[in-house]
């Protein structure tokens, strides 16, 4: 196996041998669509969906740079132009190298796309989960060259929905994807420090349904008795599985003020280039992005994030919602518990009343979700229309003037009165 570095095998990880490691390189996985987040992922991968009013990926890259990582490798694939356009050739002055994963054949396969750039211990981080610099530092602190891998693990009562972990001391003894067994209390937070030999181990890992998973490769290491360390991380860890989870992510970030914009008053974060009319009301916690405009008499918040260049016209009410870039809410419209994609239009007097509803995703019904609606990129809810709670509106779809929409409005279609 070319470039393979031999590493002592077996049980050797005592803290007396531990050597602190500052790693230089990180491989960020940003190639996956996130199919359960459709229709929001029509034109962009999950890492570019909004966490409050910035892409999830921006939080990941900031955490890495703040933890001292200077060499950034992004594995891109699905709608990769969007990632490349957003991040650019450098991010905060650090060079970004792109590795294209033409087909999304699993996280292990994704990591292998960057293998030529890796020659020492390195980090792997999921690009679609909000993490902090402290978490990245904790994983690097715990990792030593004698470990096959070190994983950040977080306590969560939803561990069984993600990659679940069992620890024995600081050793991971079990790593299993979505076990559907609620006795698990720890989840894999998607921050890995890896020895370079793990690349060869990934390659020899058995594929499942044609896909090569990083976690399978690590589970093999555990089975072979190699040192896989788990380090408990604390703080805000947040991600979205379904579109309505983006509302929770925003609420989590706003609750701790983890946003970019300056705090104007307690819990009210407003970018300097935004214009907020003197007669508008901002209810904390709320964040208003660059070039956003809020008209007279509008009420925005609480738990609301407005992306760049969004508009909330006179007298409109926006509550508990995430409005992505270029979304425009017309005068006297009401938008509650909604997630909009880019360039969505909500006409004057339209109503998205919000509240709990059963939401249909594919063939599955998710009961009693708090969701006003999901409106994908450039969807148009015209003046005076009403959208029932739990409605999913596809990209370029429209709800005509005064019409009533519920359930699912497919891409490019129109609901008429």
């Amino acid at each position: 196996m070319p470039g393979r570095i031999e590493r002592p095998r077996g049980l050797i990880s005592s803290h007396s041998e531990h050597r602190f490691m500052q790693l230089d390189s990180a491989v960020v996985l940003a190639a996956g669509e996130g199919t359960r987040l459709r229709p929001l992922t029509k034109h962009r991968p999950k890492p570019l969906l909004p966490a409050a009013n910035r892409p999830i990926l921006a939080y990941v890259l900031d955490a890495l740079i703040d933890a001292g990582i200077d060499d950034l490798h992004l594995v891109v694939g699905y709608q990769r132009d969007r990632v490349q356009d957003h991040v650019g050739p450098t991010y905060r002055g650090r060079t970004v190298t792109y590795h294209v994963q033409e087909k999304q054949l699993g996280t292990g396969h994704a990591v292998l796309q960057a293998r030529d750039a890796i020659d020492a211990d390195f980090l792997v981080v999921n690009g679609d989960e909000v993490v902090t610099a402290a978490m990245v530092e904790a994983v690097m602190d715990a990792h030593s060259t004698t470990d096959a891998a070190t994983l950040g693990v977080a306590e969560s009562d939803r561990a069984a929905e993600y990659g679940a972990v069992r620890l024995d001391g600081d050793r991971i003894v079990e790593l299993v994807e979505r076990p559907q067994d609620d006795t698990y209390r720890l989840l894999n937070a998607g921050i890995y420090a890896c020895g370079p030999s793990l690349l060869a181990d990934i390659e020899s890992t058995e594929r499942r349904a044609g896909e090569l998973h990083l976690t399978d490769a690590i589970a093999d290491q555990i089975r072979e008795g190699n040192a896989v360390r788990g380090v408990r991380i604390e703080g805000l860890w947040s991600t979205a599985t379904y579109p309505w989870d983006l509302l929770t992510v925003a609420r989590d970030l706003l609750a701790v003020g983890h946003v970019d914009e300056p705090e104007r008053s307690r819990g009210v974060y407003v970018d300097e280039t935004a214009s907020v009319h003197g007669d508008a009301t901002l209810r904390a916690p709320v964040v208003v992005g660059p070039d956003a405009v809020i008209g007279p008499g509008a009420v925005v918040g609480p738990d609301t994030a407005l992306g760049r260049n969004t508009t909330v016209d006179a007298g409109a009410v926006v509550e508990g919602s995430v409005l992505d870039i270029d979304t425009r809410v017309g005068s006297n419209a009401t938008v509650v518990d909604a997630v909009t994609g880019q360039g969505v239009t909500v006409g004057p007097g339209a109503t998205v009343p919000g509240g709990e509803a059963d939401v249909r995703v594919g063939t599955t019904i998710h009961e009693n979700r708090r969701l006003g609606c999901i409106a994908a990129d450039r969807a148009d809810i015209e003046g005076g229309a009403t959208v029932a709670p739990g409605t999913l509106i596809g990209p370029d779809a429209s709800v005509g003037t005064g019409a009533y929409a519920s359930d699912v409005v497919p891409e490019g279609t129109e609901v008429r009165r």
Binding site: V83, Q84, D85, D291, V293, R308, D326, G343, D377
Partner: protein, 602 residues
């Protein structure tokens, strides 16, 4: 049209700094490159071809190129073909003096005759070579190196930015006249270059040199003097741009990266300039602009197409306006007086033809405005007013995002001249704020890549448009010919039957740009029917308002927006058409043959 860089600093770093600088300047020209490293001695290596050829020649030399000063050059031929001999740096017979030059020395023939009469033998066919021989003659006459370079520069007529090293002197001398030259001030090292990106990775502190200024750089520091030898106080400015031109963000070409950057660059262009709450457009930089009787645009290439569009916008708003090729205007200007405004549209702010036209207008008393992308560029400094388009650095030789930002720039100018920040334009403000999203929609959904596949083996490509779509037809054809090398022409749609229709056959695809529902759109649909009658395949680029798609073999859709902004979106489709055709033909997309990014010679 060339790029130069000079360096004074760490002897072991000189060569690598110079080569990095050349690589960053490659967009300025690339048919030959060379480097000279000085100090006690002087070593020169130069090669026809791209930078790689020079680098392999240097590798073959081994690492003997060390010294505290050096100059380097990337060339785009104006005098003499690209050969090793014609590549810069040029030296004198003794090999003591090495010179790199950007510009044209107009009196080189006379100087060459004079030097040849003196017994000097020339090694190249370039105008530049007179400079090292002049310097060497002054040295032989007993002058010190600085005085010798000054005396030589005094003899030169034309445009030049020169950097000179002399063996035995740990200093670098540079002088400019009508060609761009900037000084970079780093920690223990100093630079001169044609453009900031050459050294942006090492320092952001720059000094823009003015005409007739002479600079000496050495280990101690730098001194700028005027033609009389008096010291000039210069302001050190900090450049804000990221050194991001080093990366293509994972794209195969800068051009595609820049096409995709348009939503971002348009947001930057508009930020703070449109006020949604007020429904007003306000451009602070233009506050002290007068109320001109007429507006004359001067520009070349892609910028000329933005100028044509701008002139039409102003005319439709009731302001007398015209667009002129800057190179024509410089020699045969339109009547112009102190009551008029002359607008130079130039991405780089260094386009020699446009600078000449602006100077001519200024000499005749007109108010001047530079519409440019480069802060501190010559056009920006020499004009009475400047409106920056804020598109960020553009590396691809074929202009894309800067054209879109220029179109927004002339919209801002038109709104300023006609509304004076007083009149409300709620619809236009809404549509301007939506333009980035509309461009994103085109990028997300364009069928251009698939459409061009059908036309790979065509004889020629024609582009039609009327009204505001006409400049876009011209620009679409220009982009296409620049990077595909296929024959392409843009026509005013109405002109078709007055001649060009004779060229139309079943093997000449016609791209028709049809936006809005006005009389212009209806008439262009009539022209589309004319070419269809000649069996030409028709591709319509349209917002669908006039239902033009019914008459087309293929349709490239754009979102509906304000009629004056629709041409910008249509142009994005045509950028993608040109790009995908060129990619299909495997062309050198970022560096098309014979072309250079900013043309700083007339």
């Amino acid at each position: 049209m060339c790029g130069i860089i000079g360096y004074v600093g760490d002897a072991d770093e000189t060569l690598s700094v110079l080569l990095d600088g050349l690589s960053n300047l490659e967009y300025r020209g690339y048919d030959s490159a060379g480097v000279a490293v000085g100090g006690d001695g002087l070593r020169v290596e130069k090669r026809a071809g791209e930078l790689d050829t020079l680098e392999s020649a240097l590798d073959a030399d081994g690492g003997s190129f060390a010294g505290p000063v050096g100059v380097a050059h990337t060339r785009w031929s104006t005098h003499g073909p690209p050969t090793d001999a014609n590549a810069h740096p040029h030296t004198d017979a003794s090999g003591r003096v090495a010179v790199v030059h950007n510009g044209i020395i107009e009196n080189y023939r006379d100087l060459r005759d004079e030097l040849e009469a003196d017994g000097v033998t020339f090694a190249s066919e370039t105008d530049t070579e007179v400079v090292p021989h002049l310097v060497a003659r002054e040295l032989r006459r007993g002058r010190d190196p600085e005085a010798a370079v000054r005396a030589a520069a005094e003899r030169l007529e034309g445009s030049y930015a020169l950097a000179v090293v002399v063996a035995g002197t740990d200093a670098l001398f540079a002088v400019r006249q009508d060609s761009p030259l900037v000084l970079g001030v780093g920690e223990g090292e100093r630079f001169v270059a044609s453009d900031v990106p050459a050294f942006l990775e090492r320092t952001r502190d720059v000094v823009y040199l003015d005409d007739d200024e002479f600079v000496r750089l050495d280990a101690e520091g730098w001194t700028v003097t005027n033609a009389e030898g008096e010291v000039v106080e210069k302001e050190v400015r900090t450049v804000e741009w990221e050194a991001e031109q080093t990366g293509k963000s994972g794209y195969d070409h800068y051009m595609l990266k820049e096409i995709h950057e348009q939503p971002i660059s348009l947001r930057q262009c508009l930020s703070g300039r449109v006020d949604e709450l007020d429904g007003r457009i306000t451009v602070e930089e233009l506050d002290d602009l007068g109320d001109p009787a007429t507006v004359q645009f001067v520009a070349c290439g892609t910028s000329y197409h933005a100028a044509l569009y701008g002139a039409q916008l102003l005319r439709s708003a009731g302001v007398a306006a015209n667009a002129y090729y800057a190179h024509e205007y410089a020699t045969s200007p339109a009547p112009v007086s102190t009551a008029d405004l002359v607008v130079g549209v130039t991405q780089s702010g260094e386009t020699a033809d446009t600078l000449s036209a602006l100077r001519e207008a200024s000499r005749r008393g007109a108010e001047t405005l530079a519409l440019t992308n480069v802060v501190g560029s010559t056009a920006a400094r020499e004009s009475d007013h400047v409106l920056y388009i804020r598109a960020g650095p553009e590396i691809g030789v074929a202009a894309t995002k800067t054209f879109s930002s220029q179109l927004i720039g002339v919209n801002l100018l038109t709104a300023h001249l006609t509304d004076r920040g007083v009149k409300r334009r709620r619809d236009l403000v809404d549509d301007l704020r939506g333009i980035a999203n509309d461009v994103q929609a085109v990028l997300d959904e364009s069928e251009a890549a698939a459409v061009v596949e059908a036309f790979v083996d065509s004889d020629a490509f024609f582009f039609l448009g009327r009204g505001l779509d006409y400049p876009v037809a011209l620009e679409g054809a220009l982009k296409f010919k620049e990077i595909t090398y296929e024959h392409a022409e843009g026509f005013a749609a109405g002109e078709l039957k007055h001649g060009p229709l004779a060229l139309v056959t079943a093997n000449t695809p016609v791209f028709a740009v049809i936006t809005g529902e006005g009389e212009a759109a209806k008439k262009t649909i009539g022209n589309v029917k004319e070419v269809e009658a000649r069996d030409a395949p028709v591709i319509v680029v349209t917002d669908g308002v006039a239902e033009a798609g019914r008459y087309a073999d293929h349709v490239l859709d754009i979102p509906k927006t304000n009629e004056r902004l629709a041409p910008l979106l249509a142009n994005v489709q045509l950028q993608l058409v040109a790009y995908h055709m060129a990619a299909h033909l495997d062309r050198e997309i970022d560096k098309p043959r014979n072309l250079a990014k900013s043309v700083t010679v007339e």
